[in-house]
Symmetry: C2
Subunit: 209 residues, 2 copies
């Protein structure tokens, strides 16, 4: 029996996760978790070692799950434009997923206590996405589709461009979520600006304004 199929384990992770996401690490007691899920505290210690172990497990499973849905499922199309647009769509969809926001809040809030969790979250999430994107850019550069000095930095630019202030607006509860149409609009616009820039090019560009 692998650990992922253990039903007791899953029950505990679910209940504890709900509490941690609502209240944070310090405010959630082992007793309150047991009160919700039933059974004995002893089981938690047997399965996870201690409270911190349980917490880490929850963050790791959630990040893993969230991030692996988005980035690596992308195939590598020939046109850089398609690749960027699909990437942007996936990213925006992930950000507007409430669970992603919950993980983000919890990880950033508890980062001083659990620095290694912050590190893993960043490596598995934003950094992995950025590296994936940087590879795509480097490849497109070899094809002659684009030209960049530093693919890593350019990837970071695109990433930030797509995200914009969305994360902050969600944190401040200014936006509930984005409509699919709005997601699409932002992805398209970011892709266009990233590829073509906004400076007028008097030479090319029959510029019929």
């Amino acid at each position: 029996m692998t650990k992922n199929e253990d039903p007791r384990r899953k029950e505990i992770l679910k209940a504890a996760g709900e509490l941690f996401f609502e209240q944070g690490f310090a405010q959630t007691s082992i007793d309150s978790i047991i009160a919700r899920v039933g059974g004995s505290k002893r089981t938690i210690y047997a399965l996870f070692g201690n409270k911190a172990g349980l917490f880490k497990e929850i963050i790791l499973e959630n990040s893993e799950d969230l991030f692996s849905q988005s980035i690596p499922t992308l195939s590598q199309p020939h046109l850089i434009e398609e690749a960027l647009e699909v990437f942007a769509l996936r990213l925006l969809e992930m950000i507007t997923n409430p669970r992603a926001l919950g993980v983000y809040k919890l990880v950033t809030r508890e980062a001083p206590q659990f620095p290694e969790l912050g590190r893993i979250y960043f490596e598995q999430g934003p950094e992995r996405a950025r590296r994936w994107l940087a590879d795509i850019l480097a490849q497109a550069q070899e094809n002659g589709q684009i030209r960049v000095e530093d693919p890593e930095l350019a990837a970071a630019h695109f990433f930030g461009m797509v995200r914009g202030d969305l994360m902050l607006e969600l944190l401040l509860q200014r936006e509930e979520t984005l409509s699919p149409a709005e997601i699409h609009r932002r992805a398209k616009s970011a892709t266009k600006v990233f590829l073509d820039g906004i400076r007028t090019k008097p030479d090319v560009e029959t510029a019929t304004e």
Copy 2:
């Protein structure tokens, strides 16, 4: 005597600010503030009404102060390139200011309790910056320097591009700060990509790097 010159008021704001930034709203007691600054609780209630009033005042003064140092001090140069680069520099300098990070953390953390504070923070900070930038872009469009469909969205793109993952890395304590050289490099790169894009343009291309 205006309220900004009242020395007692300033002392209290300073001490309370330190505690709120360290511990958050709920975890900071009025008593602990008085313990640090001396005097009587009565003064706090006389000056600020209640604990929430004191808290709001701290957030407001800090946001006001932070953002007004950066954005509006910019003059409006003729070249869009200069304007963007200076904007990017100011933004990165602000983000790497520890106090800005503290305000950000506190506001996002307490946003569910103080939604109007989140609103004001956003309007005074990111949104004001974005509007300022959108105006510059619209103006540059009239001059024929650039062409954008939606100046607001383009401004959001540039803003996000400059910020990148910096905020997150600071929150997760992956970066202490950025060197002035690195700030300069990011500002320049973002400006260049934003204006010119990365797609190769076989027609023009005098492109002597």
